[in-house]
């Protein structure tokens, strides 16, 4: 017989980091299916490519860092980063886009900062921002949504688009398929002094709320997000703050000048809003920690997204807003510590010597 000496508690809830990550992956399924339905096979190819790259990068770096590879790979965090990045980039982006993006995310944004739990920025969004700045053309070229799991584009065509050595080779082919996203189009049109009336006129906006297919994709991610909240994988504070921030600004502006500014609904269900609110901004490693802090963090992301979307140079802004607030998260944490039991008021700021 052998006893063990170990600190209390002796019983544990059966849960694990891997379990959390798996549920997160499960929750992306509705969104993936919606993307698949509206934009064809590309998304599946991108996810596959991204996951393979991420796992290889993680394994390689762990090997270089002399860490147990299997132990860390089993936590699924690399897969989650890969899937989130793949969901954010255009389905027909060339293969090297996703490979470069994913490896940048894994190597620079994650492991150079110390790996899981130590990265100050959301790796997927660092990868995305890196791609968006470096390859703006490839990163803004989307297929028009069609439905039917991309039947009209076809698997072969998609693969050809993704794996053709250079987009220029197939320029005609490429142009034939590609198009701008509703957010992009709206921005372009508004810059051309059009009014939001075009939302009712052009094909690209013909969804029920915010552009063909895009609203459904967002609804799908919203469903997945609700699943996460129900499973207590994420708390409601960040998504609600996020949507509130975005919605309040959008509502204010669209009430003030409806012709100039799109409605909150358009913003909520356009672009990567729901993906950002429920899957990206809620990455706990790089977010604020207390409940109050999380709400503020989400709220500020929402505000920033609206500001960048409306007044900035990019049609969608989830990545930049999230990265900026990642920077602010420690500060938010300092000023939103909860009031502990038995204390009159919460502590503020950082520790003082001999306090």
């Amino acid at each position: 017989m052998a006893f063990i000496s170990v600190t209390s508690p002796h019983s544990h809830r059966a849960n694990s980091t891997a379990g959390v990550m798996q549920q997160l992956l499960l929750a992306t399924l509705p969104g993936v299916l919606a993307l698949f339905w509206f934009f064809g096979w590309g998304i599946l190819v991108q996810i596959t490519l991204s996951v393979i790259t991420a796992v290889l990068c993680e394994a390689g770096i762990l090997y270089l860092r002399k860490k147990p590879i299997a132990f860390y790979l089993k936590d699924y965090s690399a897969v989650v980063t890969a899937v989130l990045l793949a969901l954010a980039i255009p389905p027909i982006a060339p293969w090297w886009i996703v490979v470069i993006g994913t490896s940048f995310a894994m190597v620079f944004a994650k492991h150079l900062y110390g790996g899981l739990g130590s990265n100050p920025f959301n790796p997927a969004m660092v990868g995305y921002a890196f791609l968006l700045i470096s390859f703006p053309l490839q990163m803004t070229t989307w297929l028009p949504s069609e439905g039917n799991f991309g039947a009209s584009t076809g698997v072969e065509n998609t693969l050809q688009l993704i794996f053709s050595s250079s987009p220029a080779d197939d320029a005609s082919n490429y142009d034939a398929f590609s198009g701008a996203t509703p957010l992009d189009e709206l921005k372009t049109q508004l810059d051309l002094d059009q009014s939001t009336d075009i939302l009712q006129q052009q094909d690209v906006f013909k969804g029920f709320i915010a552009g063909a297919g895009w609203d459904w994709v967002n609804v799908a991610f919203l469903i997945g997000g609700c699943f996460l909240i129900w499973r207590k994988i994420i708390s409601w504070h960040i998504p609600v703050g996020f949507l509130a921030g975005l919605g309040i600004l959008a509502a204010a502006f669209s009430l003030y000048q409806p012709a100039q500014y799109a409605s909150p609904l358009f913003h909520w269900f356009g672009g990567g809003c729901m993906l950002g609110a429920f899957f990206i901004a809620t990455d706990p490693v790089s977010a604020a920690t207390s409940d109050k802090g999380r709400f503020i963090y989400g709220f500020l992301i929402g505000l920033l997204i609206y500001i960048i979307r409306t007044f900035g140079g990019y049609p969608d802004a989830v990545a930049f807003a999230v990265l900026l607030l990642n920077l602010a998260a420690p500060t938010i944490d300092y000023y939103t510590q909860p009031r502990s039991y038995g204390h009159d008021k919460p502590n503020r700021g950082t520790a003082k010597k001999d306090s």
Binding site: S5, V6, F71
Partner: protein
């Protein structure tokens, strides 16, 4: 004309700001030389002299005024060097082995009392007056006050002083730091069943 206005303005501003700065310099002057106190408060106060100075404060003064290196304090070890580096804004450097090695456990002097001849040499050597005794009478160490500086060991003519590590008791015991990521913090204790063995 404008040039004069400009000059006057600049001069005026310079005067005002100068006055403000001067006022602040007098009004909010930091009294004394607190950097020495700050350094002194970081040092472990063993007063062992291993740094080459007669006590912690002289070493603190030397660091503050003469740019003495921060790595001459073996009792403080790495932790002290880090704190000093942070306070003085210099780089963390490894402990200078010439001045001694960092001890893992704090130790305290014990006099083997039946061997003590009462020569009072250790009493004179003790920097914190932690040894009690009189000439030709047995001496003893006030364990609570001993800093473990080692200075009493050398002068003893009969080598009756031992530096013993401070024993851990139930009220001074603390939990170990868990092993960290990738490890399960379980300590296994082999147990033999006495009843079965007999």
């Amino acid at each position: 004309m404008e040039i004069f206005i400009a000059i006057a303005a600049v001069l005026g501003m310079a005067t005002i700001f100068g006055a403000v700065l001067g006022f602040i310099a007098i009004k909010f002057r930091v009294e004394g030389n607190p950097i020495v106190d700050q350094i002194d408060s970081i040092l472990p106060q063993t007063q062992c002299g291993q740094c080459g100075y007669p006590g912690c404060r002289p070493y603190a003064e030397a660091m503050a005024n003469n740019d003495e290196a921060i790595n001459h304090c073996p009792p403080g070890g790495e932790a002290t060097i880090q704190e000093l580096a942070e306070l003085l804004g210099v780089e963390v450097i490894p402990l200078d082995q010439e001045h001694g090695e960092e001890q893992e456990l704090p130790s305290v002097a014990y006099i083997r009392e039946d061997e003590c001849i009462g020569c009072t040499k250790c009493i004179q050597a003790c920097p914190v007056d932690a040894i009690l005794g009189a000439a030709k009478l047995m001496h003893t160490v006030i364990v609570d006050e001993c800093t473990g500086c080692d200075l009493c060991v050398e002068p003893c003519p009969v080598d009756c002083i031992d530096m013993l590590p401070v024993a851990i008791e139930q009220n001074t015991w603390t939990w170990d730091k868990p092993a960290g990521v990738g490890e399960s913090s379980v300590e296994r204790i082999p147990v033999t069943n006495i009843q079965e063995a007999s």
